[in-house]
């Protein structure tokens, strides 16, 4: 998008004399290229080169071909991991929606003081490191953890339950970690619905439930899609939480890639797994790119 000057169009000679400054509203091509050069260098060396090297490497080991991908397809173990990754990402997305929608609604529509309290409860986890929050789930769920201690004290169980390293633990902890990413887009969508619409509907005889079901919910659906998509994409490739809370039986794509890199040192296969994970993620991003607004999460609350 080039915005050209509308006030006092400079003569071509003036432009030639000032090659760096350009017109008043738009910077010249030379200056723009100088300004963006550091970013291009950084992304080229820090992102495109490493990611490209890893992905391409998986096609050239031992020689050009799909050897590494055939390995992936042949083994039922790896296909199980791939399937489990999708299942868990889906479960996390649904759980985040069920828990997140009422919270987003409360943030947007409750009276000022209660909305502020709810907002604080959403922002504090958002601002806190995911590593710390995943660690908290270990503290909660481990054998001598908080949940088992409480249940034993209450006499509801006689010996500690096996909670950690299960799929349930991974889903619960990941839901908690990713919840703010579901909540914020829904909050932005619900807040944008004018209260007058609901009032008009009640004046015409709609009950509270009917107002919600036929006015609020349909109008907030874009936010719901954006939040769910963001959560699903993040859940597909999440490493920290499943690495800490999950065990060998809850291996996901991300933890499998990590294991291939640090334990078996099979970088070509790690590259193939990364290619599959990245392709899955990008498929969703490209298919739904219109719903995905990356800065909504930051612009949503301020």
């Amino acid at each position: 998008m080039t915005v050209t000057a509308t006030i006092g169009v400079p003569s071509t000679e003036a432009i030639r004399r000032r090659p760096l400054t350009g017109s008043a509203r738009s910077y010249s091509k030379t200056l723009s290229l100088i300004l963006i050069a550091p970013l291009v260098l950084l992304m080229g060396f820090g992102f495109l080169y490493p990611v490209g090297k890893l992905l391409l490497g998986s096609f050239f080991a031992p020689e050009f071909g799909l050897e590494q991908f055939q390995r992936l397809m042949r083994s039922p173990l790896y296909l199980t991991v791939l399937l489990r990754t999708f299942e868990i990402a889906f479960a996390v997305t649904i759980a985040s929606l069920v828990i997140g929608y009422p919270i987003a609604f409360a943030m947007a529509k409750l009276p000022r003081r209660w909305a502020a309290l709810t907002t604080v409860c959403v922002l504090i986890p958002l601002w806190t490191s995911t590593l710390v929050r995943s660690y908290a789930w270990i503290v909660l769920l481990q054998r001598k953890g908080v949940v088992n201690a409480l249940l034993l004290d209450l006499g509801w169980i006689t010996e500690p339950l096996r909670l950690i390293y299960t799929e349930g633990a991974v889903v619960m902890a990941m839901t908690h970690v990713l919840l703010p990413y579901t909540i914020l887009p829904i909050f932005a969508a619900v807040r944008a619905v004018p209260n007058e619409l609901g009032q008009a509907a009640s004046n015409l005889g709609a009950g509270t439930l009917s107002v919600f079901w036929r006015i609020m919910l349909p109008l907030s659906l874009p936010g719901v899609f954006a939040g769910c998509l963001m959560t699903f994409i993040l859940a597909l490739g999440f490493y920290v939480t499943p690495a800490l809370v999950g065990g060998p039986r809850t291996m996901l794509m991300a933890t499998l890639i990590g294991q291939q890199t640090t334990e078996t040192l099979d970088w070509a296969f790690a590259g193939a797994l990364s290619t599959v994970l990245l392709a899955a993620t990008l498929t969703f991003v490209v298919a739904f790119r219109k719903t995905l607004s990356l800065n909504r999460g930051f612009a949503g609350v301020s």
Partner: protein, 295 residues
């Protein structure tokens, strides 16, 4: 509300037939509304509890006096904080993380601000491609970035040292700066800059005295996000850390598995407080700015 109104009408009709005064219809409706209100409050409280409890749980757990994580913690002690502060490994990891985070804040803020200016105001070929490339580290799974950077940087002697981390973390943090500064630039009224140019200011004078103060809120938010994106970052740090160059998050990762004492809870508490102070400070600062600015 229609059910209430129906009820009131029916009640009045019945009362007229029986020749008694109509009973106010409000009691029953109020009772129902009260019960559903209480149920909703309890439900919301439970959801908020789920959101907030795991975040703040580490605080009480870090104060327990037992040698393992005990719930409920018995006796209040700060000995785990003393243990943290006197452990050279923890201090080295903390200082390494702080050094990386502060340097990343500087580089990401400068590179990101310059890029945002070029993307919003500049004359660039292939802007859409450049924008997609800028935000791609937010979309590509961090495990893929982490393994890639590790595999590519290790042969270049860039793993486990400051320069390698600075490059990797700046790459991860720069999209936040570009997004926040872009938003500020799009809101910025360019006629102010034109006015400065008309009044005789040069391009750079107009930028530093007019444009930069105007987009300062976006730049400062971007800087804070960049700091936390580096300081709290765990995935890339896990793979890129070495024996000598180890971040606080990598050290935590290791100790969660092997060290069961509440030291990790104490470190976690410190990290929570750092995040809350930095983000809370930014929020208050921006509220204050909004309240005192003219426009």
């Amino acid at each position: 509300m229609s059910p209430d109104m129906d009820y009131a009408l029916a009640e009045r009709e019945a009362a007229e037939i029986e020749g008694r005064r109509p009973k106010p219809a409000r009691h029953q409706a109020m009772g129902l509304r009260y019960i559903s209100g209480v149920a909703m409050t309890v439900g919301l409280a439970a959801l908020l509890f789920f959101l907030i409890l795991p975040t703040v749980l580490v605080i009480p757990m870090s104060l327990g006096s037992a040698d393992y994580l005990e719930f409920p913690p018995k006796g209040i002690t700060f000995k785990w904080y003393v243990r943290y502060l006197t452990d050279p490994d923890w201090i080295a990891a903390t200082l390494f993380s702080l050094k990386i985070a502060l340097a990343t804040t500087a580089t990401a803020t400068i590179i990101g601000t310059l890029a945002a200016i070029a993307l919003v105001r500049g004359d660039l070929p292939g802007k859409a491609v450049l924008q997609a490339m800028t935000i791609s580290p937010m979309i590509v799974p961090h495990i893929v970035i982490a393994v890639s950077v590790f595999v590519a940087f290790a042969p270049l002697k860039l793993s486990g040292n400051f320069v390698g981390f600075l490059i990797a973390h700046t790459m991860l943090a720069v999209p936040y700066v570009v997004l926040t500064v872009t938003a500020s630039l799009q809101r910025f009224d360019t006629t102010l800059e034109l006015a400065a140019l008309n009044c005789g200011a040069g391009r750079s004078r107009a930028f530093f005295s007019v444009v930069l103060p105007g987009i300062a809120p976006g730049v400062s938010s971007g800087a804070v996000f960049a700091f936390l994106a580096s300081f709290d970052e765990a995935t890339v740090a896990f793979f890129l850390s070495g024996i000598d160059g180890k971040t606080i998050t990598r050290k935590m990762f290791e100790d969660i598995d092997f060290n069961l004492t509440p030291v990790v809870a104490a470190v976690s508490t410190i990290m929570v407080l750092v995040s809350l102070l930095v983000m809370g400070g930014l929020t208050l600062f921006q509220k204050h700015q909004k309240a005192t600015s003219w426009n």
